[in-house]
Amino acid sequence: MHIKFERRIQYSKSMLVLVPVVTIVLSIIASSVVLLALGKSVPLTMHSFFIAPFATFYSITEIFLKFGPLLLIAQALAVGFRAKVWNIGAEGQMVMGAIFATSVPVYFVDSTSPFLLPAMIILGALGGMGWAAIAAFLRTRFNANEILVTLMLTSIALQFLYYLLLGPWKDPMGFNFPQTVMFQDEALFPTLFSGTRLNISIVIPILFTIAVWIFMERRFGGFKLVVGGLAPNAATYAGFSAKGAVWLSLLLAGFAAGLAGMSEVAGPIGQLQRSVTSGYGYSAIIVAYLGALHPIGIVFAAFFLAVIHIGGDIALVSANVPISAVHVFQGLLLVFYLATYTFVNYRLRVVRHVHHKQSVVSP
C-alpha cells in the first residue's frame, strides 16, 4: 500500500485559490524555524514583515513604490513563462534600461528641456528591449538556451554598469563614489504627494497590466503565443510562429524591465548607482509564479512581495533581522508554491497491492 498522485480529470478551482494561502502559511512556518535558529524574535519579525509596512502613510507609499516595478516586470515575464520562454535575465534588461535612460541627463547635464523625460522613457524601453533581443536572436537563430543566455547577459550588463560608474560616467564632484550626477528635476518623475517618493510612473505598470490582461484573456494573440511555446510543431501547422513567441516574450520583458529600470533612476534613486535594480528582476520571477501567471493574480502577488520588501527593511531595524532573510523567504515562497500547485492538477490516492509486473500485461 502506498500513496501516489493521480491526475485529476479537470483541474481543481478551489485548489487554485487555496494554493497561494497554503504557500504563504508554509513559508511563514519555515522562515520562523530559520529565525529561531538565528536567535531572532519571530513575533517581532512577523509584525515588521506584515503589519508595520501599513503603519504610516509614508510607508504605504513606499509599498506602492516597490509594487510598480515588480508588477511591471512580472506581467511581462508571465507572458513568456506561459509560452515556456524562460527569460530570467530581467535583472540585466532592467540595468540596461536604467543605463540607456541615464545617458540623457549625463550628456545633457544643464538641460531643462521638457523632452528630457520622454527621451529617457523611450531610451529606457529600447535599452531593455535591445538587451533582450540578443537572447531572442540567439535562441531563434542559433537555438541557444535563453535561460543561460539571459543570465550571462545579466552578469555582463552589471559589469558594464560598474565600468560606467567607475569610469566615464562617474560624478566628478561625487567624492569618488561609484555613481553618476544627481539628475535635474526635469529628468525626474513628479511625485504624487509631497514628502513621499511615490511618483506618477506608477501609472505605467497599471496601464501595462490592463494591456497584458486584454491581450492574454480576450484576444487570439495570447492563445497563439501559448501554443507557440507549448507545441511548436502544432503551432507551425496552424500557421502560428514558435519563433514569434520567443521574440514577443523577450521583447515584451525587455520593454517592461527597461521601463522599470528607467523609473528607478528617474524616480526614487535620482541617479545611476550600483544597486539600481534592488533585485526586482529576480523577485519578479517569484511574483509571476505566485500570481499563477495570471494578470490579476500577479497584481496581488506583486503587492504581497512589495509589502515583504518594505517589511524586510523594517525588520532590519526593529528586529535586527538581516536583509538576506527576505531573500530566503522569497525562495521559500516559490519552493512551496511549486510543491503545493501539484494539488491543482493531481489528487492524492491510496493505492493497495499493485504489482508492477501485472500492470504491464495487457488484458
Partner: protein, 308 residues
C-alpha cells in the same frame, strides 16, 4: 614561479570548481533531472564550508559540511520536482533563489574574513621538474581527485549496471520502470550526488581557490557549470576539457594584467560570460546533434505510470 607557470597552474585550480559542479550536474541530467539550482547549491555549500573551516581550522570538516549542505539543498529540489511532480526548470530556479538567500544568511558574520588555503601536494622528482612540476604536480589533492572522479563517473555511466540504470531513467523512465528499475529512487540518488559535488565545488571555491568569504562569491560559476554539460554534449571527457578551457578564460583578468594590457577590468570579468554565450550559440546551432546526445527524457516529469 614565472607568469606562464602561474597562469597554467591557476587554470587547473580555477577549472576544478567548474569540473566538480559540472560532473555532479552531468549525473543528475543523465537520470533525466535538469537541476538549475547548481548556483544556489554551490553558494550555500561555499558559505557552510567556509564557516566550518574558519571555526575549526579543518578543511576536511569544511568539505564534509559543504557536501552535506549541497545534498540537503539538492533534496529540496528532488522532493518538489520528483515527488511533487513540479516543473524542473521552475523548481531549479526556486532552489537557486533560496540558496542564494541562505548563503548570504549563513556567511553574513564572516564577510571578508579569510582562511589559510592548504598547501599543494609534493611528489618527489615530479614536483621538481621545471615548468611541468609547478604547473602539474604541486596542486591541492582535490584537483587530482576531481580528475580521477571524472574518469570514475565516465566509466560508471558507460559500463556498469548502475550507470545503465541512471541512463535508462533519463532516456525512457516508463521503460525503466517496466524493467523494474526504481526510477524515482534513481533520480533522487542522482540529484543528491549532484548536490554533493556542487557542495565540494562550493567548498573548493571558498576555502582553497579563493580562501575568503564574500557574499555572491560564486558569481555565476554554477550556471557556467550547467552550460558546460551542454558544451560537453553530456560526455565526461569533453566536460573535463570544457572545464579547463573555462578555467583559463576565468583567469583573463590576471592574464591581461600580467601583460600590462590596458583593458578595463570589467570587460575581462565579463569574459567567461561572453565566452559562455558564444560557445552556447555555436554548440546549439546543430539542434539535431544536441537532441541526439541529450538524455531523451531530460527535464520531463515522471509521474510513475508505465505509458503515456
Amino acid at each position: 614561479m614565472t607568469t606562464v607557470e602561474f597562469l597554467l597552474a591557476g587554470t587547473m585550480s580555477a577549472a576544478t570548481v567548474f569540473l566538480l559542479a559540472a560532473l555532479g550536474e552531468l549525473v543528475a541530467e543523465k537520470s533525466g533531472m535538469l537541476n538549475l539550482g547548481v548556483e544556489g547549491m554551490m553558494a550555500v555549500s561555499a558559505a557552510v564550508g567556509f564557516v566550518i573551516t574558519y571555526q575549526t581550522g579543518n578543511h576536511l570538516l569544511g568539505f564534509a559540511g559543504a557536501g552535506i549542505a549541497g545534498i540537503f539543498i539538492s533534496l529540496i529540489f528532488a522532493t518538489v520536482a520528483i515527488t511533487f511532480l513540479a516543473n524542473q526548470v521552475a523548481t531549479g530556479l526556486a532552489v537557486g533563489i533560496l540558496g542564494l538567500g541562505l548563503s548570504a544568511l549563513i556567511g553574513r558574520q564572516h564577510e571578508s574574513l579569510t582562511v589559510i588555503a592548504p598547501g599543494g601536494i609534493n611528489i618527489p622528482i615530479l614536483s621538481d621538474i621545471p615548468l611541468i612540476g609547478p604547473v602539474l604536480f604541486q596542486h591541492n589533492i582535490v584537483v587530482y581527485l576531481s580528475i580521477l572522479l571524472a574518469i570514475a563517473i565516465g566509466y560508471c555511466l558507460k559500463y556498469t549496471r548502475l550507470g545503465l540504470a541512471i541512463r535508462s531513467a533519463g532516456e525512457n523512465p516508463e521503460a525503466a520502470h517496466a524493467l523494474g528499475y526504481p526510477v524515482h529512487l534513481i533520480r533522487y540518488g542522482s540529484v543528491a550526488f549532484g548536490g554533493l559535488l556542487a557542495g565540494f565545488a562550493g567548498a573548493y571555491a571558498s576555502t582553497i581557490y579563493t580562501p575568503l568569504w564574500a557574499d555572491g562569491m560564486i558569481a555565476g560559476r554554477g550556471w557556467i557549470a550547467v552550460a558546460l554539460v551542454v558544451f560537453g554534449t553530456w560526455k565526461t571527457g569533453r566536460i573535463v576539457l570544457g572545464a579547463y578551457l573555462f578555467g583559463l578564460v576565468s583567469l583573463g583578468e590576471l592574464l591581461a594584467q600580467s601583460f600590462g594590457a590596458a583593458i578595463p577590468s570589467q570587460l575581462l570579468s565579463s569574459l567567461p560570460y561572453i565566452v559562455t554565450i558564444v560557445v552556447l550559440a555555436i554548440i546549439s546551432t546543430n539542434a539535431a546533434r544536441l537532441r541526439l546526445h541529450a538524455p531523451y527524457a531530460l527535464g520531463e516529469t515522471y509521474d510513475g505510470s508505465e505509458a503515456r
